[in-house]
Symmetry: C2
Subunit: 299 residues, 2 copies
């Protein structure tokens, strides 16, 4: 069952203690698509500028990622530049140029109007709602967001949550959105807003799943070297949704296994700069990493 993803496709300049990557393929929809397309076909809706390198398009085309919805607009592609500090847990945005992304009004191609599974990556919640209005009857809607929208468009975001089944959000944003420092309270409060599952992403500390009456915790897989954490959260979401798209129902065990899958993919993502590791990943790599994560949790 294919997944429709709407989000950003960007050119990232990333500086870490290990080196620098310039104008690397990035963006939430990119990481999500590369991860999810390991499980199921992905239909990507996003916008790039006329400067978007052909080799990036080709890289995406090598995977079951349909680019019918990738609009090429007059102007330059969204660019982000950031720097990670020694512990890799904090980053500073050095430059941000929305370019064509500033005027992005997602138009969902008619052939996607019956998409059963939709991932609304981090964009303006008003646009996320506008996307849902163009989809007839999705079986599963998941979304992400960020502090910027929580601060500036809280009420729109809260409205969106009523139509969302799975919310993926990082810990600081969960605290901000739920207005409580305690993650368990945040999980409960966010469940009350609509989603049947809230997944709180904690970076190197793993993730927490909250459902009514249920909690599940997955540790991140401890790596000797984290080269570039960019995109780990969207890769995680891609892994989770990719796994769920192959299941009949959104059961508790399916969600738990989906989180292991997302955790494994995210752990690969951060091993190299940008999307590099996601493009070389084999089924055997995945199987081994999943086993390692299960052994990490076994008691």
């Amino acid at each position: 069952m294919a997944i429709l993803v709407v989000g950003s496709v960007a050119l990232d300049t990333i500086k870490t203690p290990f080196g620098t990557a310039r104008n690397a393929l990035g963006g939430s929809a990119t990481y999500f698509s590369l991860a999810a397309s390991l499980s199921v076909p992905v239909n990507l809706v996003a916008v790039v500028g006329r400067d978007f390198p052909r080799r990036h398009v080709e890289l995406l085309r090598r995977r079951p990622i349909d680019l019918t919805g990738l609009e090429v607009a007059r102007g330059r592609t969204f660019r982000w530049s950031g720097e990670y500090h020694l512990d890799m847990n904090t980053r500073t945005t050095r430059a941000l140029a929305l370019n064509v992304f500033a005027a992005f009004r997602p138009k969902i191609p008619g052939i996607y109007a019956d998409s059963p599974i939709v991932f609304l990556a981090n964009i303006d919640p008003a646009l996320q709602l506008a996307v849902l209005r163009q989809i007839r009857r999705p079986r599963l809607v998941a979304c992400d967001t960020m502090d910027h929208w929580i601060r500036r468009k809280r009420s729109t975001l809260i409205r969106l949550l009523r139509r969302v089944d799975v919310l993926t959000i990082n810990d600081e944003e969960a605290r901000l959105l739920a207005q409580t420092p305690h993650l368990r309270r945040a999980g409960r409060e966010l469940l009350r807003r609509g989603p049947s599952a809230v997944i709180i992403k904690k970076g190197e500390h793993g993730s927490l799943l909250f459902r009514r009456g249920e909690m599940f915790a997955v540790p991140a897989y401890p790596l000797e070297d984290v080269v570039d954490p960019t995109g780990a959260g969207d890769t995680f979401a891609g892994g989770v949704l990719g796994y769920l798209a192959r299941q009949r129902r959104l059961t508790a065990p399916a969600l738990r296994r989906a989180m292991l899958y997302g955790t494994a993919l995210a752990s690969f993502c951060v091993e190299q700069f940008g999307v590099a590791r996601l493009t070389t990943l084999t089924r055997r790599d995945m199987r081994r990493r999943l086993q390692a994560i299960q052994s990490l949790m076994r008691c």
Copy 2:
């Protein structure tokens, strides 16, 4: 099998967003003893001043905690005063008066010289070594430390590690001692220094166990209300050692289960101010919390 613990017994003044406790019973050896004594008898070696309230002695005596080694010295008891901020993860020390603790030179009573299991709570590593010289042939030695000693007595601490089986240490201190920002590298580096098990405590993010060729991760139990995090790390260590003291051998499964036990105890510890919750805990509470933690990890 009884555990010998050497550390601090203190009077703590704690301020949190939930209230203030003044001159509450605290100290690393106190938390450790209350936790470990739920499993096995504990022999406590520490020093207090003549002002140490009788009711605190009585509280400890109500448990299988032998106080033969609790020296009462001329002067005032060690006092610590700290404040927690809203997210409960950061704290500021407001006042610290070592008092009788400044001149503490642990004398191990002769009856403890054959202690099979020793926990060296966070004190000067030179004193931790001096304690070990007074024990004949311990079967299992565990220790903790803090940033202060890592910065000021690194080489003594490194020497101590050669004689330690289990090191419990928090994440920031592990990074500082191992001189790497990556916890997995830190775990490996610390194992190289002597211990056969390194347990890195990450507060609300749980804990990681490193052994040669093995990793294990336990999430902290997410609570709706954390009232006072003081002592959680020593309570965790008390749970771990208490559990291990009842096992024949230090096997991998035993260590994993010991960490669940420590995690459960630590989660109770933070539910109320100071040691309060540790004194009301029932076996039934523990059983239920252990089940909840196992369900949190099951996949």
